[in-house]
Assembly symmetry: C2
Homo-oligomer: 318 residues x 2
């Protein structure tokens, strides 16, 4: 895909920057970071940062540093998520906590946070560092909210807040931050914020759709994982609109001690209700608004690549 | 004590800055931060930063912000330590994880890290932020090393590395950082680094001594906690020098499945060997070197207060 081609020289530099963060520290930290880097991941966020950086002509070296900081921040949050959820697999690979004690895993996450913060400081931009720290607060506050209150039936507003915290906030950061490393033009920043926000929201909606449409082997996790854990996502919200009383679904998300048969029944009802398509259409609307913002930049190879990436975000379920 | 008197106007400001970090976030985060702030702690690190700030005439508002950042960083590491160790009490108060799930406790620690990083960024000093992130890496790397390798018999060098990471690194930061918020004079920075290093090392040595000399009720934790968990500290190292074969002690720290009787036997042997006094003498030597560095600043009320604080660090066992 074109958007990966355009960054093929930079992504290995970003990965090298990530890898060297363990240098001079405990050998098990090196192993852990190596393991996490080899565990896959499309490096979508660094790709976005580098493309935006090229588009706005940001300081190249610092953009690599920033991209590594963003990806490490993302990695650290995943490491802590997996230990909190007790997940043993991510993208089909064993998680860190599948091999290590919870204590070692928590500390590895902390170390990666520390290195992400150090890289953010090395961009030499104070506003970027503030935004970086603010984004981490947003992500963690979202997770805490999810832990304490967002199980069971929620409003669309709560859902959008949750996916903003979970995914779109970091996409936003990946898009705005390179502008800080160029000219700090406020109009460009606002456009890039919008592009990052809209594409990030779409990304999470599609992830939530995939949880309903994928079979266990494809995602490396059981289908309808969200539903099973009481998490209501956009397809379920559309289904509830169409069928507000649907007692089975309310039972699944509120009680959460239900039979496999009941879960499959609800998943099938959602699949057959048109809710999946409605959620995908909404994701496309988000991407459309993101593309509108993007089109306000002069045409360039990078702009086209970012547009391709935005469309990929909704098309990847195919 | 004089050193607390001199900062009595600033410490409430530091605490207010810490408290407001939960504003606008999940109410349980507010409760958690309130709980942590009410759980005591002498605010030694903020006191040090404010006294140094006054001595070198640093930007006052930013020094308050820095002091809050340092104390939050310290707090976040304690929150994660307690969840990793499964500790239910700290300073006689219930820990966060005594009341909450491990997941909620891990995320609260992450949130506090994020807010500490945000406050560090609000000092507007890039070198300070770099040092801040570096210090967090050092602390976490030390904990990981302790988790993986430092149990059982270790060298003095390993011990000093461990207590540097655990305690002295953050004391160093508390002392150097205000100089960044004044004139960034490298000579002053080096002197302050030395003062913070030496006093921080002494602080941890005395903590390690107190673990041997205190009874269960005073510290709010069982006596000889370190020894029981296989952690060799300076009094044990002195005892080993005096009595290199001491089979009981080697058994306690290496095997760690030993009777209460055996632990008490070893603790008594260490207490009676003069090792406690040797460790305290060494702590006093550290403080002496710290005071030598401090004396190179012109006399002032704040300098005298810092000297008093340094002496308090070794005298507090009385």
């Amino acid at each position: 895909m074109k958007f990966f081609d355009l960054v093929q020289d930079q992504i290995p530099q970003v990965e090298a920057r990530m890898r060297e963060q363990a240098n001079g520290h405990h050998p098990d930290l090196e192993m852990a970071i190596e393991h996490l880097l080899n565990a896959g991941g499309k490096r979508l966020r660094p790709t976005v940062s580098i493309l935006v950086g090229k588009m706005v002509d940001s300081h190249q070296e610092r953009t690599i540093t920033l991209a590594a900081a963003v990806e490490l921040l993302h990695t650290a949050t995943l490491v802590h998520d997996d230990v909190i959820d007790g997940s043993l697999l991510r993208r089909g690979n064993p998680t860190l906590n599948a091999r290590w004690s919870p204590g070692a895993t928590i500390l590895t996450g902390d170390f990666i946070f520390a290195r992400a913060a150090k890289l953010a400081a090395e961009t030499e931009s104070v506003p970027l560092m503030k935004l970086f720290a603010q984004t981490l607060s947003t992500i963690v506050n979202g997770e805490i909210t999810q832990l304490f209150v967002s199980k069971g039936l929620i409003s669309r507003e709560d859902y959008f807040q949750r996916i903003y915290a979970k995914t779109a906030s970091l996409f936003e950061l990946s898009c705005i931050a390179p502008v800080y490393l160029a000219d700090e033009d406020h109009h460009k920043m606002e456009l890039m914020r919008k592009f990052g926000y809209e594409v990030g929201m779409a990304f999470q909606i599609v992830d939530d759709v995939l949880d309903f449409t994928s079979e266990q082997t494809a995602l490396g996790k059981p289908v309808a994982n969200d539903l099973r854990s009481g998490l209501v996502t956009l397809p379920a919200l559309y289904y509830l609109e169409k069928c507000p009383d649907c007692p089975n679904m309310i039972k699944v998300v509120e009680d959460r001690i239900v039979s496999e048969e009941m879960v499959l029944k609800v998943v099938n009802a959602i699949r057959e209700s048109g809710a999946i398509q409605s959620a995908l259409d909404e994701a496309k609307e988000f991407v459309g608004r993101g593309l509108d913002a993007l089109q306000q930049f002069p045409q360039s190879e990078e702009r086209d690549a970012l547009a391709e990436l935005a469309r990929f975000v909704v098309d990847r379920q195919i």
